[in-house]
Each structure stands twice: as C-alpha cells, then as structure tokens.
C-alpha cells in the first residue's frame, strides 16, 4: 500500500538544532562567536594573526581553525600564544555546526570572551551552514576582483561585515571600490566595510577595535538581561 508522508522538514534540520545548542552554550558562558569566511588565499589566517595582538589585550580569545587536512593554520595561530583548535574536515568544503560543537568541547568556556572560527576557504558552501554565530564576517581580497560579490551574492548578503584585504595591492589590480560599494548597496546596504592590508598591518587595529566593541556590548546586554 502506498503511503504519502508530508514531512515538511528542512534538510539541514539537524544542523539548525546543533547551531541552536551552540548559541545557547555561548550565551550561557558569555562568549561571542564569530564566523570568518572567504575564498582560499584571501588572507583569513594572516588577518587573524595580526588582529590577535590587539584582541588579546582586551579579550580572552580562542580560534577554531577549519582546514581540509593540515594543522598549518592552527600552528600559525598557536605561535601567537592563543589557543587554537584544529578541525580537519577531511575534504568537506565547509564547517557545519556539529564540527564546531565538537571543537568547543576542547575549550575552557569560562575562560573565554571571544571565539573566532576560521571557516574553510570557499565562498559557496559555508554560507548555507548556520554555526550558531553572533557575527558573520566575509573577507575579500583585492586580487580576487570585485566581481566576486555579485558572483557569490548569498555569502555577501548574509554577512554583517566585509573586510577588504590586500588594499596595498589596489594600484596593481582592476579592483573597483566604487563598483564594490555600488553592488553592496543593492545586496546588503547595512554591511560594515573595513579596508585592511593584513600583511602590512594596515587597518587591522580598527577592525579589531570594532570587534572588541561588539563583544563588550553583547556582554553588557547579556548582563543587563540577567539582572532584569
């Protein structure tokens, strides 16, 4: 006998549940969670390396490093005296909530204010997976070209912050800041934009300061909620 079952269930229902658990866990422990995404080679690890100096002065910070196979990025972060958990996805093109949940088990929550997740280098798949984060940052580098924004619109629509890296190379590329700003005006008008050269450490302090403000504001809001 044929039976029809109206399931009406998201394929990523499990991921959403786990993301909610992460969100709850971070709220309970007053931890701010940031998901950083970009294509490979845009400079995520270099940006983190340079920003951690500023962030660590104000916040107890840890990094979750997504990598397909190696521990190179986590080693680079650990060299700065910051706790780094390496996640190897064994070929998977994105981090999902379950992987992040497992990585969180390796961290001492009561000793942390901020966790930065460096996602797998990819502008497509990571956009689909909610990690329970408070903030989505997308990093774009001038050498990739400004057309990446309209080619991967979902990534740039869903992030609240854009960091444009390698601005020192602008004169040597065809990257158009005017076109970038025009495209973002239609796609994500509220997006905050930071211009940095991670390698030369230009603009990194401004970005780190903004993160520190967001983390402290979130912690203060959380405290007020707890009192009321």
């Amino acid at each position: 006998m044929t039976i029809k079952v109206e399931l009406q269930t998201p394929i990523l229902a499990r991921n959403e549940e786990t993301a909610e658990e992460i969100r709850y866990l971070c709220q309970e422990n007053n931890i701010y969670l940031v998901n950083i995404m970009s294509s490979p080679g845009a400079g995520k690890t270099t940006l983190l390396e340079k920003a951690l100096g500023y962030l660590s002065k104000e916040l107890r910070t840890a990094v979750i490093e997504g990598d397909i196979a190696t521990t190179r990025d986590a080693d680079r972060i650990s060299a700065h005296g910051v706790e780094a958990v390496q996640l190897n996805t064994h070929g998977a093109c994105h981090l999902d909530a379950r992987m992040v949940y497992q990585a969180l088990q390796k961290l001492e929550w009561s000793q942390l204010d901020l966790i930065l997740i460096e996602n797998i280098g990819n502008l497509v798949c990571p956009a689909e997976f909610n990690l329970g984060e408070d903030l989505r940052v997308v990093l774009l580098s001038t050498t990739e070209g400004n057309d990446k924004i309209v080619k991967y619109p979902v990534m740039f629509r869903d992030a609240q912050m854009l960091v444009l890296n390698k601005v020192d190379l602008l004169p040597y590329t065809d990257f158009s800041k005017a076109e970038m700003e025009q495209d973002l005006a239609g796609l994500n008008p509220g997006m905050e934009i930071f211009y940095v050269s991670a390698r030369l450490e230009q603009g990194v302090e401004e970005w780190a300061d903004r993160l520190i403000k967001l983390v402290k504001r979130s912690a203060a809001e959380h405290e007020n909620l707890g009192q009321s």
Binding site: T9, C93, A127
Partner: protein, 122 residues
C-alpha cells in the same frame, strides 16, 4: 559542491521517518529548493542516484525538485518583487532597501511516498 552531504542528511531524515511510519521502500521524494540555497538541482539528482542504490529506495525511485525563485518584500511599502540574480534587494517601487527575503531560501523535504509492504486490500 556539498550536495552529497545534503543528500546524506536527507537520507538520514527519511530513514528515521520511514521507520516511524513502517515504510519499507520509498518511491518518490519531493524537495523544495530555493534559488538562494547553495544546492544545485542537477548535483542533487546526481547525488540521489548514488544513494538510490541503498536499501531505503525502490529501484524506480524518483527525486522531484521544485525550484523557488528568490522573492523579496519591501518593508517600507509592502511590494513583493523577484530579486534578480539574488543581487538586487532594492524595491522597484519606492527604492526601499529594507527588504525581507520571503522566498528563495527553501531547502526542505516537502513529502515522500513509499510502500509499507502490506497488500492493497481495500
């Protein structure tokens, strides 16, 4: 790029639901996939063919995919409009930029059909 993984999640959900509903073989699955989801229908079909070899599905099982266009709704004037290329979230009437996505993000199993192994006797 991650359609195999999505299909694995779909099969996991279906396996659980089929057991719960005492269904032995699934003949048809209907998915709804929005244009803003990161899943491509062709790649989903390909991934489905791989999983079809598993015991959950009958050999004639089909995956039906309904695609949904990306639609926005202007929070200023209420106008609903298609979002071209997932890129232009600006109201064509009032040029408002506070736009809510009302369709295009779907990625869900709508329904499926299967056999419970009992003969049709009614």
């Amino acid at each position: 790029m991650h359609e195999m993984g999505l299909m694995a999640s779909m099969v996991e959900l279906l396996t659980e639901s089929a057991r719960h509903n005492q269904i032995q073989k699934i003949n048809k699955v209907k998915l709804v996939v929005g244009k803003m989801s990161m899943a491509l229908p062709d790649a989903l079909q390909l991934a489905f063919d791989v999983y079809k070899a598993e015991g959950l599905f009958s050999s004639e099982a089909v995956l039906e995919i309904e695609e949904r266009e990306t639609m926005g709704r202007c929070r200023s004037c209420g106008r609903r409009f298609p979002v071209l290329d997932n890129c232009l979230f600006v109201c064509p009437d009032c040029q408002g930029i506070d736009v809510e996505v009302i369709s295009g993000r779907e990625l869900y199993i709508d329904h499926y059909e299967g056999e419970d192994g009992n003969a049709d006797d009614d």
